[in-house]
């Protein structure tokens, strides 16, 4: 009865580069972003470099929404060392900080990238580093520089070197879809398809060490939870009971998966100990209990339940199994995720019939609506807590968008093909 679907697993992640890339469009920034100039890096080689490292840095800083980046055509000169850097010129053009750098060839085809960050007003060097590189890792070097500059200027660890996964669905013909699980850099570049199926893929979740993913795949015709190792592509089916097998979430210690099974009759949250292969049931209620997510200390799970008549977010303290309701505002609050400090709860919140991303301060109880796009869902928080990536609709397509935790910075990651959904942001890698 159930049709076995074709599943193509990409064993070598880097062998398949999907054509579609996500590109960033800033839709709203902060009122007073800090002006920064990132000068094109000097290059002593004969051949063209595959990546413009300074542009990668400029794009990262721009995308954070906290910086306004000076257009290159407005630069009077392209200094690459301290001697050719005239602070007065950069002061006049309004830049508070300037990043300069140079790339040189080394023996055996290796490269050396140096960069420096200067405070234009104080005429002071804030950062400087020499990085060993090669022709194929220049984007990664750019993201690394962005991380250093961002942390120096904001005090917050940069998350530009992290990755995201997301699911795309492409309608091939009526009722027939091609689903892909895609791994990409946090800026949407370098997308690699890591799983492809004719049946739904959903709920990808990163392990805390960033080495593997858990997700739900219907590839056998029924839902099952799989764990896939990113380095090797190796994967295993970890749960496939009769009924639902869904919503996997890794514990902070990486040894357990919270998940949802309906084997006992209705959707309940369970914890699977991956080492001992022991399953323990966490919730006991005749309503729907789903979408578990761990608190940062691993002592509690938050989950969505309709036990009060409508979906709301609850917390269960595992040692005592005491349940606390966390959300009260509105008729629909679901898929909660906590920030790494455990203070803020992001969720999908329904208001006036439409769905948006909201954040609740668990200390004060205050709920703020962060998005005003259409059909917003699947919020996932950057590991530095600065940005929430989520899925939304643009026209008839699903796209990814992002918003800062304070709601001031918004940007969109449109994709050139398919319906994009279910983003999950990696931990620091």
């Amino acid at each position: 009865m159930m049709q076995r679907s074709l599943v193509v697993l990409m064993l070598m992640l880097w062998t398949v580069i999907a054509r579609a890339e996500l590109t960033i469009e800033i839709t709203q920034g902060v009122d007073e972003p800090t002006p920064v100039a990132v000068v094109p890096f000097a290059w002593d080689g004969a051949q063209a470099l595959p990546e413009d490292v300074a542009q990668v840095v400029a794009d990262d800083l721009h995308r954070s929404g906290l910086f306004s980046v000076m257009p290159r055509e407005n630069m009077l000169s392209f200094p690459s060392d301290r001697n050719s850097l005239y602070f007065r010129d950069w002061r006049i053009s309004g830049s508070e900080y300037v990043v300069i750098g140079r790339i040189s060839t080394k023996e055996g085809g290796a490269l050396e990238v140096s960069y420096e960050l200067y405070d234009v007003l104080k005429e002071e060097r804030l950062l400087g580093e020499v990085i060993n590189a090669n022709f194929s890792n220049l984007r990664a070097v750019g993201h690394y520089i962005s991380d250093q500059v961002f942390e120096k200027l904001t005090g917050v660890r940069g998350a530009f070197s992290t990755r995201i996964v997301y699911v795309t669905a492409e309608l091939l013909r009526p009722q027939v879809y091609r689903y892909k699980l895609t791994l990409a850099d946090a800026d949407g570049h370098n997308p690699r398809t890591i799983l492809e199926s004719r049946e739904p893929i959903l709920s990808p979740a990163w392990s805390r060490d960033g080495s593997k993913l858990a997700y739900v795949s219907f590839e056998t015709g029924r839902p099952a939870i799989y764990v896939q190792y990113l380095a090797t592509g190796k994967r295993e089916k970890v749960q496939s009971f009769r009924g639902l097998n869904g919503a996997p979430s890794w514990s902070p210690d990486g040894n357990k998966l919270a998940l949802v099974l309906s084997k006992d009759g209705n959707p309940e949250v369970y914890v699977l100990d991956l080492q001992q292969r022991r399953l323990s049931r966490v919730t006991h209620h005749f309503g729907i209990d789903t979408e578990p997510s761990w608190s940062p200390d691993g002592q509690s799970l938050i989950f969505t339940s309709d036990r009060g008549g409508q979906p709301q977010i609850y917390s269960i303290y595992l040692p005592t199994r005491d349940v606390t309701r966390l959300t009260y505002e509105g008729k629909y609050n679901a898929r909660g995720r906590l920030t790494q400090d455990g203070r803020f709860l992001t969720m999908v919140h329904q208001v006036n019939g439409s769905f948006h991303i909201a954040v609740q301060d668990l200390r004060t109880g205050r709920l703020d609506l962060l998005t005003e796009t259409y059909m917003d869902e699947s919020p996932t928080i950057a590991p530095n807590g600065s940005i929430i990536l989520y899925a939304t609709q643009e026209g008839t397509r699903g796209v990814l968008a992002a918003v800062s935790l304070d709601g001031r910075v918004k940007f969109r990651l449109p994709s050139s093909e398919g319906d994009v959904r279910e983003p999950a942001w990696s931990p620091f890698l």
Partner: protein, 168 residues
């Protein structure tokens, strides 16, 4: 004459089986809103249950897609009616099997919608089992919002996507 008596006895037996199913539904399954709703609706139309077996051509005239309200998993009266017709066929044909696939519209979160879809499929399954269908003849699966019947972002599309589909 004798054949008719057997038919009547079978009808009576089925009704008893159904009544037993109904009463257990009431006590043990007050937890299932779908089950409650189905049981209540059946109560009002129980006289229509009979032992007459349905042919495949009769079954073909029955609805196979049952619709739901937003964030709800209660079957509508006409859905219960059609499912009882399917139940008759399945009881008479124990080798026949059905898949009940529950679906949700695109609104709300994906995993919650998978849970909702399962509730919707199970509400239909319950009508079949309380009418005597063996649970081994029924497979329940939920796709949540992943397989819409209609692609569209308006109430008429959503209404067609909140459904349980029965296939033999």
């Amino acid at each position: 004459m004798r054949a008719m008596n057997i038919g009547k006895a079978a009808a009576l037996a089925l009704t008893v089986v159904w009544a037993a199913g109904c009463s257990t539904t009431k006590t043990t399954d007050s937890d299932s809103m779908g089950g409650d709703s189905a049981a209540t609706t059946q109560g009002t139309t129980s006289t229509q249950v009979s032992g007459d077996s349905m042919s495949m051509s009769d079954v073909k005239n029955l609805a196979t897609v049952f619709y739901f309200d937003f964030d709800k998993y209660q079957l509508k009266a006409e859905a219960v009616e059609a499912l009882r017709g399917h139940a008759k066929y399945l009881v008479a044909n124990p080798s026949a099997k059905v898949v009940l696939a529950g679906h949700a519209d695109e609104r709300g979160t994906r995993e919650y919608n998978i849970a909702l879809g399962e509730r919707r499929a199970k509400a239909a399954a319950r009508v079949l089992t309380v009418n005597g269908v063996s649970s081994s003849q029924i497979e329940v699966i939920s796709y949540g919002e992943e397989k819409p019947a209609v692609i569209g972002h308006n109430e008429s599309s959503w209404a067609q996507n909140r459904r349980t589909e029965l296939t033999y």
